[in-house]
């Protein structure tokens, strides 16, 4: 164990002894996350009002529904932009933001899906550890992106009907011909509750994983950094090297990890 120059107790050191700090969520991922979070709240609030106006304004110059619709449309387009950025980032971002984190395609991911499922289903004591998303979380985000795409398409179709815009109708006009506007509105409304249900579970699961894995997952969506133990890093590195993918190692190199700067042999753990 190295002696800390500032005499901070070992368990307060940052990163803690035996852990490396690794840059997992790049800034577009975090920005998209929080923009989507804020816009879903504003879209839900204004959208629920548009579905069933629950406040009656007073005064002769009231413009409540008009304002709600304006905020809804504005939030909708910001939401659309954030979802688009995130989907593009699935193809150009780092290995933890790529599309294959959301859909289990490899044997390892499927195994991880089942292992995480066993933990959530009280069939194992500890969760499998991850640098990025676990396979079930990733899959639930795939469902969220599915819901987001449904909301965007139905929303644009409803907007196209209101605007009567030929350009928009050219891109989305097939949808109202396939499913009637009334049902598009129903889908648009019901999928909102799917996003709410996801939100409820997402917050709890983030708390659970943060506590159980002790990897700073809650903070990571603000800072971008997660914490790995040496043994986990070694294991992950072996996996990555085995597939010939240098990305993980590169990221570790670039990250401001406390004691580990890459190389063939990580320093011995302090513990």
């Amino acid at each position: 164990m190295k002696k800390s120059p500032t005499h901070v107790p070992p368990e307060w050191q940052w990163p803690a002894h035996g852990q490396v700090r690794i840059y997992v969520w790049q800034w577009p991922v975090r920005a998209a996350h929080w923009i989507i979070f804020v816009t879903i709240i504003s879209l839900s609030f204004t959208g629920y009002y548009m579905h069933s106006p629950f406040v009656t304004p007073h005064g002769k110059t009231a413009y409540l529904m008009g304002t709600m619709r304006f905020v809804h449309l504005l939030s909708g387009f910001v939401f659309l932009a954030a979802v688009l950025v995130r989907i593009i980032w699935m193809f150009i971002g780092n290995r933890w933001s790529r599309w294959d984190q959301f859909i289990p395609t490899t044997k390892a991911r499927i195994k991880d899906f089942l292992a995480t499922g066993r933990y959530y289903g009280y069939m194992s004591w500890a969760p499998p550890r991850h640098i990025g998303h676990n396979a079930i979380a990733g899959f639930s985000y795939a469902a969220v992106y599915g819901m987001a795409v449904v909301e965007i398409l139905t929303g644009l179709a409803l907007l196209s009907n209101v605007l009567g815009n030929r350009t928009l109708a050219f891109f989305i006009g097939w949808l109202p011909r396939l499913i009637d506007l009334q049902w598009l509105r129903e889908i648009h409304f019901l999928v909102m509750f799917g996003l709410w249900s996801f939100f409820v579970y997402h917050v709890y699961m983030a708390m659970l994983v943060s506590v159980e894995e002790e990897n700073g997952v809650m903070e990571s969506i603000f800072t971008g950094y997660k914490f790995l133990s040496e043994s986990e890093l070694r294991q992950a590195k072996t996996e990555v090297d085995g597939t010939g993918n240098q990305q993980l190692v590169d990221h570790v190199h670039r990250s401001e990890c406390g004691e580990y700067h890459g190389g063939d042999s990580p320093p011995a753990s302090g513990m």
């Binding site: 304004p57 009231a62 959530y120 209101v162 049902w183 509105r185």
Partner: protein, 373 residues
């Protein structure tokens, strides 16, 4: 019964229609067609020169509501003009002839004026069981429509039933009814004037447009004229300001209903329906449903009986949940289930941690080192 060959002015003169009334009619038609004022002269001179084209009006699975709607207009005297602008050779509701003579008249028109007459169709066409659910003079509606419409120079489907099958085709559609375009595919110069009923001003305007420019007006993807079906009811509604303000009728006959607030919460389909109902209106421009205090039911929208019902709710009932369960209840139910499941998992995870801690304590007297890191 022979097809008269006299022109429009002579026919109008016989009916005692003055030049002033004629010009007023032309200007109202130009306004309905959303044409600039300079087209008033074009329309008036074209109609004055026009030979009266022959028109046959076929009625199949219908309630005669579109014919009745045509006859309900008096000022401007749309009916008179439409009746006089064209030579109506066959219309079951109006014609004096009956039986064999009437059917012979229709047959004569098809034989002698093939490719020259205009066919108007009202009502759906049954196709199940060989089309036996609607027969006229021993012939099925399907046979009549194929025979008459495929020889017409232009076909006008008036009302929801003739356009997309309307009420007759709505679920469960026991007679296999179809609209004209589906029952007789590939008809040339077909124009759909949806609505329950059609608005006679629009039908007259289509005929005037055809007589003036010798072509059909600009159509949308359902072959409906854009001048009548191109704008959303909601955008033309006189109650729109109340919508934007957020003032709504909460129940029938309440204070808001008496004050003329927006009918959105009562299930008004104005925001998704297109029609020129609010501007052209009904019964000589007297009123229209929303002005009279009833929500729009989107009667001019595609298959509105199936797609727009229930007419008094914002959203349809979710299939499989019964008609009394609203989408709101289902949505909140889904969210409630998620919260319940999450709460159950919180309890489960707490129990697991306790059990795990006890187990680890039993195995090792000291707490595991890794927990301090």
């Amino acid at each position: 019964m022979t097809a008269p060959t006299c022109g429009v002015p002579a026919a109008l003169q016989v009916r005692g229609v003055s030049r002033r009334e004629f010009v007023r009619f032309c200007s109202s038609m130009a306004a309905t067609l959303a044409l600039p004022p300079k087209y008033l002269g074009v329309i008036a001179s074209a109609l004055a020169k026009a030979d009266r084209p022959i028109l046959v009006w076929l009625e199949f699975q219908d309630c005669a509501g579109n014919s009745e709607s045509m006859l309900r207009s008096s000022n401007p005297p749309v009916t008179e003009f439409v009746l006089d602008l064209l030579s109506w050779e066959y219309h079951e509701l109006l014609m004096a002839g009956a039986g064999k003579q009437a059917e012979d008249a229709l047959e004569r028109v098809v034989r002698e004026h093939a490719g020259q007459y205009i066919a108007v169709v009202e009502g759906a066409i049954p196709t199940a069981d060989g089309g036996v659910y609607c027969t006229i003079g021993g012939k099925t509606a399907l046979d009549i429509a194929k025979h008459v419409c495929s020889n017409a120079v232009a076909n006008i489907a008036v009302g929801a039933c003739a356009w997309d099958g309307g009420l007759v085709r709505s679920n469960p559609n026991p007679t296999g009814a179809l609209g004209l375009q589906d029952a007789v595919p590939g008809l040339k110069n077909l124009i759909n004037l949806g609505g329950c009923p059609h608005n006679p001003a629009n039908t007259a305007a289509v005929l005037v447009h055809y007589l003036t420019f010798h072509e059909l007006p600009a159509l949308d993807e359902y072959r409906r004229p854009l001048f009548a079906y191109g704008d959303i009811i909601h955008d033309q509604c006189e109650r729109r300001a109340h919508y934007d303000a957020g003032r709504f009728v909460e129940e029938w006959g309440d204070e808001g209903h008496r004050k003329g607030y927006c009918l959105y919460k009562m299930g008004c389909k104005g925001p998704e329906a297109t029609y020129n109902c609010p501007t052209v209106r009904w019964n000589d421009g007297t009123s229209w449903p929303v002005k009279a205090g009833h929500g729009c039911i989107a009667c001019a929208s595609h298959r509105f009986w199936d797609t727009k019902s229930p007419f008094y709710r914002r959203l349809p009932s979710v299939p499989g949940f019964g008609v009394d369960v609203t989408a709101d209840q289902i949505g909140w139910g889904i969210t409630g289930l998620a919260v319940t499941a999450m709460a159950a998992q919180v309890v489960g995870d707490i129990v697991r941690d306790k059990v795990k801690a006890r187990k680890e304590n039993a195995e090792t007297p000291e707490p595991p080192q890794s927990r301090q890191a």
